[in-house]
């Protein structure tokens, strides 16, 4: 965990007081709604269909139990008793009253949580691997760098009014769990031939109506230069990114229009021209931030404790363990994913009671630490294996032990037309219906890893382009229709999905998905061949034929 010091605390309190003044000026009419809109967006406040929506930052998806309890408090006191975890590791509340927002922010500030730059045309929450610091084989903990970048990009005087939003993600593991290739800047931590730590820098990824996979702009930028290099990218973007059309304003369009070579050259020239502007991170500066991260005092524990051996006959436990428990870098410990995708539930929601209970379990079993992943699930990152049976029982009682992590019912979905004023179609009810169709865990296990992502409009908040199966809501003559793509993925082999056929009406979506899955089961080489690999091997056509033959 990163521990805030007096300076971090002071800054967020100063931001709360500034926002309080902004709300006051809006309520008194001193600020027009048009002016206030930009200011509230810079602090995570959207106006949605029914009410204000309030998005709170969870930098790189790391929370302490104390912080999670405070989020539960906000859900209970200022909202309707629940919160929604997002694909960028944040949480949002859907029913906040404007006049109460400053108080909610002040309550959060007490535990070092803020909502700065969770929306608006600025640098958004820096996201990372939800297993950062505990995943086996990691180069080093990417959160050190995430935090350095978080600080550097918070209330940046030059880049707080960019052409459009700007998202940075970092991974330090071989398997990319942070989806860096669909970010404006993706950073992959690695070591060069001299053993020096640095970053492969990718730029121009993003979804929305013009999706792009990020391209490598520089294969290696030493860690000490990463802030100045990011600053150079942002300066080029701030000056040349399009501002005439909101749909062409993201950096991906600039990179696409200039071409990656020309864009890279512009950045390189700016970077060289910057000279020493105090952004170089020497060893002491990096260590300063590193020293503010605390790590658990792990015990020396056996690889296979008796508790685990005894629980092995419990089928329900075993099924959950095989699905939701992952290897930890320290022997005797595990990473446990808590599915927020119960059968029939809205993906990513947690009630205040669940949040409080998870905070208690984190204190008891995970050194007080919780993670949020971009798949909209939670994780307890440091669970001793001997505690797994007891933890399972507790999670099961809370409805947080659905053994569907990475399976067909572990669906990513945006809020859709149920909440969002931009949406063309509903997302959540589609997800809920699919979780009912595939509610049988044995069937889901048989299907294996399969990511379904659902967006209620072309803005793609549900990442439909990179779902193994992607579902996009569109409007046709006043009716909700859905386009379905297959073969997308968001990991190190990121790729956009391919349209499988004509859009289908709301009532037929679940049938089509079932048919796609059946076609895959019939066509796969062997049980281990994942859905996305079958699509890669065969292309879309054989699946299209089977699904659309009778339609």
């Amino acid at each position: 965990m990163y521990a805030y010091d007096e300076l971090d605390r002071t800054l967020i309190n100063e931001r709360v007081s500034e926002f309080r003044d902004q709300v006051k000026r809006r309520l008194s009419g001193e600020l027009t709604e048009d002016e206030f809109k930009i200011l509230r967006l810079q602090n995570g406040v959207y106006l949605q269909l029914h009410a204000y929506m309030f998005r709170v930052a969870i930098p790189y998806g790391t929370l302490s139990s104390k912080q999670l309890r405070r989020l539960a408090h906000v859900a209970r006191r200022y909202d309707r008793g629940y919160g929604h975890f997002t694909t960028r590791q944040n949480i949002q509340f859907n029913w906040i009253k404007l006049a109460e927002l400053p108080d909610a922010l002040a309550d959060l500030a007490e535990v070092g949580i803020h909502a700065m730059q969770t929306s608006g045309n600025n640098m958004r929450n820096v996201t990372s691997d939800q297993w950062a610091g505990v995943a086996p084989g990691e180069i080093e903990d990417p959160r050190i760098w995430s935090e350095l970048i978080r600080q550097h990009t918070t209330l940046h005087p030059e880049f707080s009014f960019l052409p459009r939003k700007f998202k940075i993600a970092i991974t330090a593991a071989e398997h990319d769990r942070a989806a860096i290739k669909i970010h404006d800047i993706g950073l992959r931590l690695h070591k060069n031939a001299d053993g020096e730590t640095g970053f492969e820098v990718l730029v121009g990824g993003g979804l929305g109506r013009t999706p792009f996979i990020a391209k490598t702009i520089k294969p290696f930028v030493p860690g000490r230069d990463i802030l100045s290099y990011i600053e150079a990218i942002l300066r080029v973007y701030n000056q040349y990114g399009r501002r005439d059309n909101i749909y062409k304003a993201r950096i991906k369009i600039l990179v696409h229009e200039l071409g990656i070579e020309k864009f890279a050259k512009e950045v390189e020239e700016e970077w060289k021209a910057m000279g020493d502007v105090g952004l170089t991170l020497d060893h002491a500066a990096i260590e300063e931030v590193r020293s503010r991260f605390s790590y658990p005092a792990y015990e020396k524990l056996p690889h296979m404790p008796d508790e685990l051996k005894q629980a092995a006959h419990d089928k329900l436990f075993e099924r959950w363990r095989k699905n939701s428990v992952s290897p930890h870098k320290v022997q005797g410990y595990s990473i446990v994913t808590l599915s927020l995708k119960p059968v029939g539930g809205p993906p990513g929601d947690a009630t205040a009671e669940q949040m409080d209970a998870v905070a208690d379990l984190a204190d008891k079993y995970s050194f007080g630490e919780i993670r949020v992943g971009h798949e909209q699930n939670l994780a307890l990152p440091h669970v001793a294996k001997r505690d797994l049976p007891a933890l399972f029982k507790a999670l099961d009682r809370l409805g947080l032990a659905t053994p569907n992590v990475n399976l067909v019912t572990d669906i990513i979905a945006c809020p859709g037309l149920d909440y969002c004023s931009l949406a063309n179609a509903r997302s959540i009810p589609i997800a809920q219906e699919l979780t009912r169709r595939f509610a049988n865990h044995d069937t889901a296990d048989l299907i294996g890893r399969l990511h379904i992502n659902i967006s209620g409009c072309i803005n793609a908040c549900g990442h439909h382009h990179v779902g193994h199966i992607g579902i996009l809501g569109v409007e046709k003559n006043g009716e909700e229709f859905y386009q379905i793509t297959i073969g997308g993925r968001a990991d190190e082999n990121a790729q956009l999905g391919t349209l499988i056929g004509p859009a289908v009406p709301y009532a037929e979506v679940a049938d089509v998905i079932e048919d796609i899955v059946e076609a895959y089961l019939a066509l796969r080489d062997r049980p281990e061949e994942l859905f996305v690999d079958t699509v890669k091997r065969l292309g879309v056509e054989p699946i299209r034929e089977r699904v659309y033959a009778t339609r």
Binding site: D5, N121, Q151, R243, A284, V289
Partner: protein, 171 residues
Amino acid sequence: MPLVKQGRITTDLFVHVADGAELPGDGAVLVTAERFLADPEALLRRTGKVGVIWPNNRSLDELVPHLDRLASVALVFPTFRDGRAYSQARLLRERHGYDGELRATGQILRDQFVFMARAGFDAFEVKKDADADAFAATMKRYSVFYQPTGDGRVTALNRRMQLRHSESAGQ
């Protein structure tokens, strides 16, 4: 529209002269980039200071050769959501060493003051009287800064390292 300079509301000594309008015989003038570049020497020869209003989508390359003879550069915020002039300001101050008046013009609200000052602006054509009145208080709103800019404010990281250094020196 009040002008805030050196932290106070002051009388604007510069007259905005529209393109095509006649220049006053003396006194300080602010002219557009086109007018200035059409004949810089003629403008700079007259008695009275000269400032240029530089659009936020025009390269600074044409401006830089004249910087040491200009009394003011006004950078434009057509709306406050358009942040291009922040980059121009930092480049003028930090890369090209411009030390004359750097003025923010356009849609200027109190909510930008700190960002603007950090980027190098020292004069502000503020849209609303209440915001101009609140200038001094607004500038005191923040005491912690995460990024180094040319304004010289010490960053949080440097403060921490200084603290650490003095702690270890005292042991």
